[in-house]
Symmetry: C2
Subunit: 322 residues, 2 copies
């Protein structure tokens, strides 16, 4: 695979989407997001998505020419309709509009409906933290996890992403799916005909299984078991019920061109830390980072990601041929 600088990679990837009929602006938004995830080593949300995104564009499952629309029903709300397009242009719009609203009101919220796969969620909130805001993103994904005690998927793996500015350093970024493990290792185990560890997944009857094929037909185990299932319900309510999106169990796959738009949702919160009654935030963040980093073996989340990002900026990334 040829190695390219990040700007060249963005051009190359955007070109593939434009060739498939995606508008220039949307193609660049998608390409920037995928290349940024790839540069951070988040390959599951990086260039590996190009073929499936193209399949969704070609089948009409994603409207590559949709222009997301923002309304302002209340002073602190940027309500965005992604109009069955890619998630990234809708999220870019939220990131453009949220800072001013958050600084005016103290907090602002952007519900995004009729959306799609939002990729590496941490990268979105990180942009808001780079502007001095504390940000949270909740998103739902197609059905993957059952309510605790049940057997049918109602919730997605439903990521929570969080970012906060840290004086003089890159923001603290937290980004986690609410399943115990990602689906990727289970797919690999099935391909190799190998078992998976107990505790990762349940079969169609809601029973623990170590059979990767049965796991794929069943559901993923939430992180922290029952507590994680309740957290997934919270995210489902915030990112779908509140914003007017499909629930996980109604959403079509992010991974193929079959069916209509997934119409999943995202909810982004942006908080101005200078509007909370005092000016303590920066000093407090520095103190917390020190309390963590002074312990042998402990570190801030995202350290590995930032190291990979520096390497990619200096040396480029491998980009598959179109």
């Amino acid at each position: 695979m040829p190695v390219m600088t990040l700007p060249a990679a963005i051009d190359q990837v955007a070109g593939q989407f434009v060739a498939a009929g995606v508008s220039e602006a949307n193609a660049r938004s998608v390409a920037r997001a995928l290349v940024a995830a790839e540069a951070d080593g988040l390959k599951g949300h990086g260039l590996s998505r190009v073929p499936t995104y193209l399949a969704m564009v070609r089948s009409g499952k994603i409207d590559g020419r949709a222009e997301p629309r923002a309304e302002r029903p209340k002073p602190a709300v940027i309500a965005i309709d992604a109009l069955d397009g890619f998630a990234y242009p809708a999220i870019d719009l939220a990131i453009d509009e949220l800072p001013t609203a958050a600084r005016q009101q103290g907090i602002a919220i952007a519900p995004i409906r009729n959306s799609n796969h939002c990729g590496a969620a941490g990268l979105h909130v990180e942009k808001l933290a780079e502007l001095g805001l504390v940000a949270i993103l909740f998103a739902n994904t197609p059905g993957a996890m059952a309510p605790w005690g049940g057997s049918k998927p109602v919730f997605g793996t439903n990521p929570i992403a969080f970012a906060a500015p840290l004086p003089g350093r890159a923001p603290v970024v937290i980004d986690m799916a609410l399943s115990k493990v990602a689906r990727g290792p289970i797919i690999v185990a099935r391909q190799k005909g190998e078992p998976i560890p107990e505790g990762w997944a349940l079969d169609v009857d809601g029973k623990p299984t170590t059979d990767a094929a049965k796991a794929m037909a069943g559901t993923m185990v939430p992180l922290g078991d029952a507590k994680g299932a309740t957290l997934a319900m919270m995210v489902e309510i915030l990112s779908a019920a509140l914003v007017g999106a499909h629930f996980a169990y109604e959403a079509s796959s992010f991974l193929d061109g079959e069916g209509g738009s997934p119409k999943t949702g995202q909810l982004i919160l942006a908080i101005d830390p200078g509007a909370m009654g005092g000016s303590w935030f920066g000093a407090r963040m520095t103190a917390l980072a020190e309390a963590i980093e002074s312990q042998p073996g402990a570190r801030l989340p995202g350290v590995r990601r930032l190291a990979l990002r520096s390497k990619a900026a200096a040396s480029g990334i491998e980009v598959p041929q179109a």
Copy 2:
């Protein structure tokens, strides 16, 4: 122990706090919160707290006469200083002020600093959901969990509570500490000289232990291990760094009269579901509840709690003698 109606129990408990020098208004706020938790079967946040709260009042660790103060630095922010008093009067103030602000702005936020133990966090957000709002509460607590890979407590067990209205029914309420298990069972095991299951706690060197005494001297394991530790960090940033509270590792105990005010923090968010760009929320909540409840073995969170509440309202609760 005598059985009392809930109003009589509130009178009895409030009387004990007034006798210890707590203002009438604060005493009733605290008594209402403890009796409500007791009625819901949440005994760790119920009347079992009366002796330790009284110890904190008598030593001056809690200022029983503090009147929490609210400022409005921005239209969507109710910044509250609990002034080293009980958390409950400060939270009552937030619950009084948040609904109007949330309906005007679409979302509103109440940071609470110089606070204390907030008890059954789900009961606070439930009140906002009863008024038609979606609400989230983040709180920190005295040090209990280490950053992943570390051995010294930096984070509390840091509860997340969430509530959302459900048409024609009690709100959906989610309330969880971020430790894998509560500290209560470990205290009991130590008293009995019994071992605890592996995976609950770490010793002072950050190594897994089944020795309850070593666990008490060490740290609690977060739910979902590394992911839970990062969630606890997120809650620490939201409920302490942002609001200007002590971090978990700086906070004195909630359980005795030793030391100064814990000065922990809470952050409450209230969202108007009618301000998100459409009027779909109620119907979507009903659909989600049905998707969960139609599965054998699955249920909405809080069902047991509501049953206990009905029983307590009808039959009263046991109240220890002063």
